[in-house]
Amino acid sequence: MTSRKLFHCIVALLILAGIGLGWLRHSRMGIPFLPGTHRPVWLAEARIDFIAQGEPVTVSLDLPDNPPGFSIFSEQAASPGYGFSILDNKGLRRGEWSIRYASGPQTLYYKLQVIPIPRGKTDEGGPPAEIEPIYWNAPEALAAGQLLEKAYAMSSSPESMTRELIKLLNKPEPGQNAALLLGETPLAPLLAKLLNYARIPTRIVLGLRLEDGRRNQQLSPLIEIHDGRHWRQFDPLTGVEGVPDDFLLWHQDGQSLLEVRGASHSTIRFAMMRQSIAATQLPYAVGDRSPLAFLGPQSLPVEEQNMLRMLLILPLGALVVVFMRIMVGVRSSGTFMPILIALSFLQTTLLPGLPSFVAIVALGLLLRGYLSRLNLLLVARIATIVIIVIFIILFSSLLGYQLGFNTGMTVAFFPIIIIAWTIERMSILWEDEGSREVLVQGGGSLLVAVLAYLLMRWPLMVHLSFHFPEINLITVALILMMGNYTGYKLSELRRFRALFPRLGP
């Protein structure tokens, strides 16, 4: 009985592999289990205005590189007449617009779509550079020194000192020292200057606070200090540590955010909007290069994808056939002919498909009846039927067109050979077993085909079988299990019904 054990192991393994891989794909690549799931996408737009003065203009804008908590889904620049390219310098990207001649007010756009993702380990950037010497004028130096002394006394570490300093500067009535310093320098640069003065490596990063439908926004600053091991971010207004969830980090390195050469009065403003996008489109757009993505059919060109979509849904049809034949005991003509019929229904849809299929086969059967009198060889007969079927399809298409239905045309989607073979089989069946058997087997085939069609068209199944190809491992396991079923078919209740009264009490 070890072979049975092995069999059960294989079945269990297939099911586990199917579920496991599916789960992995779901959790790692974010493909939803249900179709039609949408995920939010933020559209951020930077608008640069300047006045050109009739000379060559170069505009260089720092672009978000790898913002923590977001994944860049798409980006594009809209700028008529301007050349645009993205320069990548060791991971630091800048967008550069250039034009030979421009004059008057100019507007450039840069659009970016980002998807919120779970915040992983942030890319910290390198260790801090050597702090450059800081120069104050005399009153400032005195004020800064006193302010820092106060913060230093109330703190124990670089980060607590930062917090204290932020508090001191943001008091409703700042002291004289703070007021003096704030009068000279805005808050964020002042904080950076003070902290660097206190030998705590500090820099300012700029980012966008994402709020739906906001326009004319500016980037807001965060203070980053290096505590000896990591960079840590603080909000310069509240002192709260960390990057807020809705904060899209835009500008991190020391260079300027915007550089405009050959023009004046340059300004930059941001607008943003919340959109949503079908979740299934995301993982591939993001450019996941993991082995799971490699094994997904989505990495293929769209045309191949459509063919694969068809192939990957087929096992479900096979499952239906196996179930209907083994468990229910429906008789169909040809083992897998129903799947092929169901596939044609997928093309034609059920309503025009089913009646026209039945009509064509019935008409073909009539003509085939005459053909059998001509005393032809089998191969020649089938070939003749193929041609007859082509004519039937041609006429029904023409008729449909003339009468104004375009459903007539959909008939052409039925694979000719499937129809021809069905007609041939049915007519042999008719001769051998009589018309009743034709109805039983033909009806059985259609029933199985319709059930397979319904399952293969169910959006959930279409979605699962395409985005989680491993689900077919479970289908195989189910088929294997049914292949092992030695119990009765439902139809055998009917078949052996003559035996029942005998049992008695």
């Binding site: 083994i326 060889l377 119990g487 439902l490």
Partner: protein, 326 residues
């Protein structure tokens, strides 16, 4: 939930279902490579000759389409013959000619066929119309069986044939199949032939059904089934039992026909015998099959196996079936 109860009842009756037959019996006891011995009737004939098992005499065979044109000369002198496809199944493509009427060939039903009809039929057979997988086939022309007088009136047109299921050499169940007007002279139960379940111990009628309905008399000839008794029952079973050694197939359907002069003849063998025999007999095959399976030491010779079948398996009739199952 009525159907659940029904499934339970089938189990209690020991009915062998299609899935169980395919997996537990055909799959386990019939080697695939042996199928061709029974699927090709010419090979069966050859094999039967070597083992001394009587079959209807082969007159000639036809393998090529072009010979069909000249078949008229060969058939000229013949008035009674049977045309069969070599690889047919379930009685498909069998044409019985019972006499001549001038130009015409007369079927056993009385229908008249021209030489052209016969030629078309042969050509269809050669093209594989009736063969199992639709592959090109050979035509066999056999002598016609003369009905044993004791079965006169039990069959409408066709000749009654006996189906015996032989499991590992043990005959386990038997029935007589009688053609009716409804079945168009064919002896297939699903086409409306009458199935008469036979008592394995005696060869007497147990029960008769047509399309799952029990009946007492033949619907066309009106002859009562109750006094059917197959002659030379033991010898007939020995004949079926020897087919096991002949083919090596563990689960086998043997079709026997009773000729007036030659006695029981093997008509054909079937590696996938149907399940309707259970309806004809009124009880399931499973207990008998399991009983044979449980035999620790199988009998080596056909006579001993038949003796066992007659005494032990034959006693497992009807209701006792489940009680006596091991």
């Amino acid at each position: 939930m009525r159907w659940l109860v029904g499934l339970k009842q089938l189990q209690e009756l020991g009915i062998l279902g299609m899935n169980c037959r395919n997996i537990d019996f055909i799959g386990r006891y019939n080697r695939r490579s042996l199928y061709q011995l029974v699927d090709d009737k010419l090979r069966t004939k050859e094999l039967a000759k070597r083992h001394g098992i009587p079959m209807p005499r082969l007159l000639f065979t036809l393998k090529e389409q072009h010979r069909v044109k000249h078949i008229g000369n060969l058939l000229e002198s013949m008035s009674e013959f049977v045309i069969k496809p070599c690889k047919g199944s379930g009685g498909k493509g069998i044409l019985v000619i019972g006499g001549r009427e001038g130009e015409f060939f007369v079927k056993s039903s009385g229908a008249k066929l021209t030489l052209q009809d016969i030629q078309r039929h042969m050509s269809n057979i050669l093209a594989g119309l009736h063969s199992l997988a639709g592959t090109p086939d050979t035509v066999m022309i056999e002598e016609r069986i003369e009905l044993d007088g004791r079965f006169e009136g039990y069959s409408y047109q066709g000749i009654p044939d006996l189906r015996v299921i032989v499991f590992q050499g043990y005959p386990v169940m038997a029935m007589l199949r009688l053609a009716t007007r409804d079945s168009d002279g064919k002896a297939n139960l699903h086409q409306g032939a009458v199935g008469v379940g036979l008592d394995l111990a005696t060869g007497q009628c147990l029960n008769a059904v047509q399309r799952t309905l029990p009946l007492q008399r033949h619907p066309d000839t009106g002859k009562a089934f109750t006094d059917i008794e197959v002659p030379n029952w033991r010898e007939l079973l020995v004949l079926t039992s020897r087919c096991y050694e002949m083919t090596g197939l563990g689960y086998l359907g043997t079709d026997i026909i009773l000729d007036r002069q030659r006695g029981p003849l093997l008509l054909e063998l079937n590696a996938r015998p149907g399940l309707s025999i259970q309806v004809a007999c009124g009880f399931g095959l499973l207990p008998r099959l399991r009983r044979v399976e449980s035999l620790r030491k199988k009998h080596a010779c056909a006579e001993d196996r038949v003796a066992y079948a007659l005494s032990v398996l034959g006693a497992m009739n009807g209701k006792h079936a489940t009680e006596m199952a091991p």
